[in-house]
Symmetry: C2
Subunit: 303 residues, 2 copies
Amino acid sequence: MAAKKKSQIKSATLFGRVALIGIGLIGSSLARVVRREGLARHVAIATRRQKTLAAAKRLKLGDSYTTDPARAAKDAELVMICTPMSAYAEVARAIAPALKAGAIVSDVGSVKTPVARDIGALLPQGVHLVPGHPIAGTEHSGPEAGFAELFRGRWCILTPDARTDRSAVAKVTELWRRAGSRIATMDAAHHDRVLAITSHLPHLIAYTIVDTAAQLEKDLQGEVIKFSASGFRDFTRIAASDPVMWRDIFLANREAVLDILQRFSEDLTALQRAIRRGDGAMLQGTFTRTRAIRKGVIDAKQA
Amino acid sequence: MAAKKKSQIKSATLFGRVALIGIGLIGSSLARVVRREGLARHVAIATRRQKTLAAAKRLKLGDSYTTDPARAAKDAELVMICTPMSAYAEVARAIAPALKAGAIVSDVGSVKTPVARDIGALLPQGVHLVPGHPIAGTEHSGPEAGFAELFRGRWCILTPDARTDRSAVAKVTELWRRAGSRIATMDAAHHDRVLAITSHLPHLIAYTIVDTAAQLEKDLQGEVIKFSASGFRDFTRIAASDPVMWRDIFLANREAVLDILQRFSEDLTALQRAIRRGDGAMLQGTFTRTRAIRKGVIDAKQA
């Protein structure tokens, strides 16, 4: 019966009206997926800035365009919030009166615990909240940077709570499946802890090391850029990610990030001490251990 | 006249006999370049381990094979030392009695200040030391991992001292030019300071963060690998680099690495404090500044 239900979803347009609130890298990539797959009869796009809205229009990402999220959300069966997380509460407050009964509200933010508070608590009864996080992105931002293939082969993690309507979860799952994603479902707090390690700490570190370089004397900085191909280059790519999005991530996932950062600092201090004392055995042991993790990543087909 | 000299070098085989001491990723890639470009009449390969030597032989990387570096170096016009740096003094001591007058000794190590002490001081009069560092590599090791294109478009930094024979420097320069590299020449200490930032610190950080993950509880570690595509994956690739080579780098460039590590730790602590205090403006300001460095890397065609 589950199989039958799945095929029913597949054969039909998933949604009547979809509203995309925010049309940056993720929102615009999703708009392209919805169009390619024919997942909605109408795509309403809302974004705060006129300039971004004009770009979305020029790129023909939707069927209607507005700077008013409530107007986009009216009569929508799915409202997908793709703004920076700091705008969530404001967006939720704006769309709440316009939402129809049975509507699904989802998001694409990188931290999941705050969604219940910033969005869920502000929604009317009868609206289904299905928080989501597509683990995909590039260092580029804005509607021009999006592309439909962004989500292909990438994980999308959904964090509905136990009481969430199952058909609403199934519909959001199917949307991401059609985007080419692999779907995982987990508890929001667990998601935030895993992502603090796999994503938030690496970004914080990359931002730091690139900023350390940015503060060097000018002549040395020029050579750091010139000879960046030896490791630093990879960090600059990570550290070119959207500043507002990442500010919001660190503020939203403060506890988990500070916890893993503390462990990282302890481990770094141990290596620093080994370098100072000339403890080659300790260094070699650590560097050998880390190779095994790389093997795990390759085996998991994430490399 | 400089142009004439250059074309003279180009039109002839550069060297009679070339000895490659050490035949890992870099040595074996260089062997492939020498063969492709016809740069030597005889390539002698020496490596300590029988198993590695057999692999080099199977790959037809040279014309003669030995585990005795002195035997390979005898009558060579160029001896290129491609072993881990911790073996330098032992190799120099072994080859010194076998070197002919006018021979050039060079290396490919990632730290340049110790070369004068570990190799130069042990060489006989009349032998020319031209230390070098091709900024190229992958996370793979061993003779099978090498390929002739490894150096194409990459920088090779030479650090001869002011008294070094100019025609010896010109010959090593030409070797790397034929490998497709761009050549820079600088003071050894300056090289080590630049590379501490662009390469050594990024590797140390990547090793640390991957090792922090390696020490997590098993179930969490599994999910870290599963969802690694969000930043962590790039670190695992860097942290899969050769453990012995990197142990040697940190021991050899201790002062410069500890200096930049100190600056990095201060910058990280400042960001940690901003996260704890919820200082979004500070975070956003830092993350915006780092984007400019990425632009520099792209403009320098290193991205």
